[in-house]
Subunit: 217 residues, 2 copies
DNA sequence: AGGATCTCCGAACAATGGTTCGAGATTCGA
DNA sequence: TCGAATCTCGAACCATTGTTCGGAGATCCT
């Protein structure tokens, strides 16, 4: 428990492994647990998932989980935290790639879908925020709001520049994110569409709804 | 338990009360339980809601709940069943009111939001279907699919008539319903918008995304 | 009024679930 | 190689939860 280094110390890429093998395995196990948990959370929901389920899925004993996480809440917390980080990174990337507002918003929305469907990342990004106890929830809510505001700003900028029609930014943002979050409830890996296709079609449709006449993406 | 008359026998509106006072109170209690349960389910989720919570909220003892429902599952079942009935009724009403496809779809989507936010009806319409045990779940899933197909048909008809642009009907339907279902996660009674306003704006935006150039609602 | 039925509840039961304990294996620095 | 820190797990703990049981009070029909 001495570690607690979530932010990799990528300070020196020296020849010799700067990170002990011990700590490496520790991080790997942590990752595996998060991966397994995220998958089950997405499929069965947080409340219906037991520690024993997570333990089985990650080839560990239930008791051993507590050497990697303080408890069930913390596992959910890191799932959500990771997913949000990835989404925020997508926003930053879209902003850097200086295209038009349409393309920026589309790429962010598409990335959102991919993050939700990707087993590695959380998938339970926004889905189960209320399940968290106050201390951890506050941190997630804060980050989630930051992401939501970022998306809203993308929308607002487009409205200001005339790329999008005027409207209630907050409501439209929530409509878009809702459509995206809902994907996890109906997506099946053996379905007709790949995650990439779903992400693209979703993003295209959602953006089309705010575009003025004459400039259809 | 001899009653089991969910469908009111509105056969004869005779002068004398055709329904004994006893049975009336029974139905009223049932209604109150459903009302209270739906509210808590919506706020805290099905798994995190205890029978004792429902009992307190409906001014009854936990044990007494079992005189009105077979168990927790059945309570959720009726919540969802009611909500779906109301949504299906909205579809039928929209179909009867022979307006254009745009108006039909918009009114159905708006009714969906109002059903979700209305405390009386389920609110947990689609939200917690997986929580149900197989026997009851099958019936709900069937009805939910019926509703989803009805909405999809509205969309498909519009595409066929040229009122909507061509696209993946199933995916677009799910995108719309997802945006609507998500409303329960962020709606607050003391917010700036009333349920009616939210419903209208949502429906307008979602339909706009499938309309071709030159015909915006 | 009397018996039958319906409502209602306090208490307890069995199962589940998150979590802790204590000790045995494993790994690592020196 | 040796001692210490780290991993790992079976078993148990304890609170919660859905549910049942048996009976007391209320209500209704005749």
């Amino acid at each position: 428990m001495v570690r607690d280094s979530n932010l990799r110390s990528t300070s020196r890429p020296t020849a010799v492994a700067p990170r002990p093998a011990r700590a490496r395995r520790y991080d790997a196990r942590r990752d595996a647990i998060l991966r397994a948990a995220a998958r089950i959370f997405r499929d069965r929901g947080f409340a219906d998932t037991g520690m024993r389920d997570i333990a089985i899925a990650s080839d560990l004993s239930p008791a051993n989980l507590y050497h990697y996480f303080k408890g069930k809440d913390e596992i959910l917390f890191y799932c959500q935290d990771r997913a949000l980080d990835r989404m925020l990174a997508a926003v930053a990337a879209a902003r850097r790639a200086a295209v038009d507002p349409d393309g920026r918003l589309r790429s962010v929305l598409a990335a959102h879908v991919l993050t939700m469907l990707d087993e590695v990342e959380g998938a339970t990004a926004h889905l189960q925020v209320e399940a968290l106890a106050p201390p951890l929830r506050a941190r997630i809510v804060q980050k989630r709001d930051r992401y939501e505001r970022a998306v809203r700003r993308l929308l607002a900028d487009g409205m200001a520049s005339g790329a999008f029609v005027a409207g209630d930014e907050a409501l439209l943002t929530r409509a878009m994110l809702g459509a995206l979050n809902w994907v996890v409830t109906w997506y099946r890996p053996d379905g007709a569409r790949t995650p990439g296709q779903i992400a693209d079609e979703m993003a295209r449709y959602l953006v089309r709804g705010v575009q003025p006449e004459g400039v259809r993406g």
